[in-house]
């Protein structure tokens, strides 16, 4: 092939490659909407999420708190949160350190398990470490299923990481700074063995400047054959080998016993499960909701549910919000909620509920429409690709004094392609 044609091809490929960098958006968040719609809708219902403050300096504290309810209709084809779970944080690496975390007041340094349909309140305390702008999420990792990500907000950290401070004290009174702890010991240990290893190799090449080693030995062995090749090993080599063998074992034993003497109190790595009792749900027994039909339009941006709601409170209620997959569809006639940043998934006028009054003590059939571009941009329409066409979410109702009631709703859902 003509060299000029090859050069043209290379130039064209280079232009195409470079243009992908120029034209593509910077990936700032974590690809939350890449998860299956069913996973996001029917696993954890996160609500009342707060992350504050949003702008901090290195060493400042950031608090994340809120509530979650594992769905009572957890997908059968996914490992349940009733197995093993862990409260975690979604950030790009240790830009923050976690100084504390609790669920219902129980410290969450261990793994745990949660019950379906129950209410939990969590809080996590972070300390800012690395300057930058981060999309911070609470998340719960479920063994066998993966991370279930909660709502997120952008947090900006200013300052210099060199100013970061973090220490804690062991039971023996030693103050540990994890930023630098153990480095000197590790380097020293490696240096000792590296020198010994290099000396061992250097021994075999000790006369290499005068007498090359590799090729002459190779040719000699070719001549002698494997049966007689051991003639190349001299008595000196045997003595050095045996001495090295003993020296290594002596060094290892010495290192071990000296360490035992200097650090007598050690314990094995700790692991285990800790139990978390669920909270009392203040809404238990106050609402009954039966989903009758649910439909979502694939080409469109809407989802509607017909349900029978029984109001067992003593005040009339109205539907104010439907929350699913961390997307909040708000009924602007009942409450006002605005997005707090560019990635806050709030459809401020995304919920439409005709005849939106459920009198006290009565049962009413209501159809609710969740209509917003978020339905599509957050890829909730990809529910059609799930093996179980079933939706889930949290419904929030309010009385005329603003008191809130909430209950999970879920049910079979049919797509409409028109």
């Amino acid at each position: 092939m003509d060299i000029k044609i090859i050069q043209k091809h290379i130039a064209l490929l280079s232009v195409l490659l470079i243009s992908t960098f120029i034209c593509s958006e910077m990936a700032l968040a974590h690809g939350e909407k890449a998860q299956q719609a069913g996973l996001r809708m029917r696993t954890l219902n996160w609500f009342d999420t707060e992350i504050y403050p949003r702008k901090v300096s290195v060493n400042d504290t950031v608090t994340i708190k809120g509530k979650f309810m594992p769905s009572k209709d957890w997908p059968r084809h996914m490992e349940s949160i009733e197995g093993t779970a862990f409260l975690n944080i979604g950030v790009p690496g240790p830009a923050f350190i976690r100084t504390d975390s609790h669920v219902n007041g129980v410290t969450m340094i261990r793994s745990t398990a949660f019950e379906l349909g129950k209410l939990y309140e969590y809080d996590v305390t972070l300390k800012a470490r690395t300057p930058g702008r981060y999309h911070v999420h609470p998340l719960i990792s479920v063994k066998g299923t993966g991370p279930i990500i909660g709502p997120a907000f952008w947090v900006e950290v200013t300052g210099d990481q060199a100013d970061f401070e973090n220490t804690f004290t062991t039971l023996t009174g030693k103050v540990v700074n994890p930023e630098t702890y153990g480095i000197k010991a590790s380097i020293a240990l490696h240096a000792v063995w590296f020198v010994l290893g290099v000396l061992w190799i250097a021994y075999w090449f000790r006369n290499a400047r005068k007498d090359p080693v590799i090729m002459p030995r190779f040719k000699k062995i070719e001549k002698l054959g494997q049966e007689n090749a051991d003639q190349l090993i001299t008595t000196q080599d045997l003595v050095v080998g045996a001495s090295t063998f003993m020296l290594i074992l002596t060094f290892v034993a010495a290192g071990y016993f000296i360490t035992e003497y200097r650090i007598p109190q050690t314990v094995p790595l700790q692991t285990g499960i800790i139990k978390v009792p669920p909270m009392e749900n203040p809404n238990d027994g106050l609402l009954d909701i039966v989903v009758k039909t649910a439909e979502y339009r694939i080409p469109g941006r809407s989802f509607n549910v017909e349900m029978e709601i029984t109001n067992k409170t003593d005040k009339p209620l109205s539907i104010g919000e439907f929350s699913t997959s961390n997307v909040r569809f708000i009924n602007s006639k009942v409450k006002e909620v605005l997005a707090q940043d560019t990635h806050d998934l709030v459809a401020s006028d995304g919920l439409r509920v005709p005849n939106n009054v459920i009198p006290a003590g009565e049962t009413v059939t209501i159809t609710m429409y969740a209509e917003d571009a978020l339905w599509e941009t957050q890829r909730l329409t990809s529910l059609v690709y799930d093996p179980d066409s079933f939706f889930g979410g949290l419904l929030f109702l309010y009385d005329d004094e603003g008191k809130r009631y909430y209950k999970e709703i879920s049910g079979l859902i049919i797509p409409s392609f028109v």
């Binding site: 790009p92 490696h190 063995w193 360490t259």
Partner: protein
């Protein structure tokens, strides 16, 4: 061994093509040949170190990587078993080649040095500089002693069988003891909200790893529970036996690979 001055193998070879036309050798004098051999010496060991550094780091990453990446994964049951069982592969293969072809017991040491260099580079640039984890928490363990034990046993015994029985057993037996001067620092106890944890556990908890929830750590899980607190020696003995078997398998592989006939034609 004879010196270069009187070694007949150093005579520059005369070779012919298949149709008996004489071919001129690349070297035309003893001095030139010695110079070529010195260059081979100078290049070979660094090449082995660089080449196998990358390969062994990759092997580690796709097999037992996590166990040695983080201090809070280096437990008493899994780390002492899986690490030597995998890391004995290249010392066995390369060691067989260097012994068989050169009678040089340097394969184990060279591959372990190369792995440790590669591991340090990876931890420093990837885990510390790029990802931001404290260097002490992700610093690699040392395995050079293990490679040296294999090599020393091989030169003393001049036998793969005995090297497997003794050298490979010690290779599997000692990793935890070799690294205990560092591990002990991370196993000091801490009270965190009335929960006893180690320094390693707490550091792992504090320095957030979104993709590594606590339960993912494969540590301390096993059925060998009848020896009380003597977990580590028991695991070390078991690891020793596993390494004996693994050593023989990979010596066989190394032996087979060393028999490539094309090597003779090149050299």
């Amino acid at each position: 061994m004879a010196t270069s001055a009187d070694d007949p193998v150093l005579t520059p070879p005369r070779s012919t093509t298949s149709d008996d036309r004489p071919v001129r050798s690349a070297v035309s004098s003893r001095e030139e040949q010695l110079e070529a051999y010195r260059n081979i010496d100078m290049v070979s060991v660094p090449v082995i170190v660089l080449l196998f550094g990358g390969i062994t780091v990759f092997l580690s990453a796709v097999t037992v990587g996590d166990w040695d990446y983080w201090m809070d994964w280096r437990d008493r049951r899994w780390w002492p078993l899986v690490i030597p069982a995998v890391y004995i592969i290249f010392p066995a293969v390369v060691g067989t080649f260097t012994w068989k072809k050169l009678r040089l017991p340097i394969g184990g040491t060279a591959t372990m040095i190369s792995f440790v260099i590669g591991a340090w580079l990876s931890r420093y640039f990837n885990f510390h500089q790029f990802a931001g984890f404290p260097m002490g928490f992700v610093s690699p363990s040392t395995f050079i002693a293990l490679g040296m034990i294999l090599d020393a046993t091989l030169v003393v015994s001049r036998s793969y069988f005995f090297t497997g029985l003794v050298g490979a057993f010690i290779f599997g037996f000692i990793p935890y003891a070799v690294n205990w001067p560092v591990f002990a620092l991370w196993h000091e106890p801490v009270s965190y909200h009335d929960t006893m944890v180690t320094v390693a556990d707490l550091t792992g908890y504090q320095y957030i790893r979104t993709a590594i929830p606590e339960y993912v750590r494969i540590i301390e899980e096993s059925t060998l529970r009848t020896f009380g607190e003597a977990v580590t020696p028991l695991t070390a003995v078991f690891a020793g036996f596993v390494c004996i078997l693994n050593y023989y398998v990979w010596v066989a592989v190394g032996s087979y690979l060393s028999e490539s006939h094309w090597m003779k034609k090149v050299i």
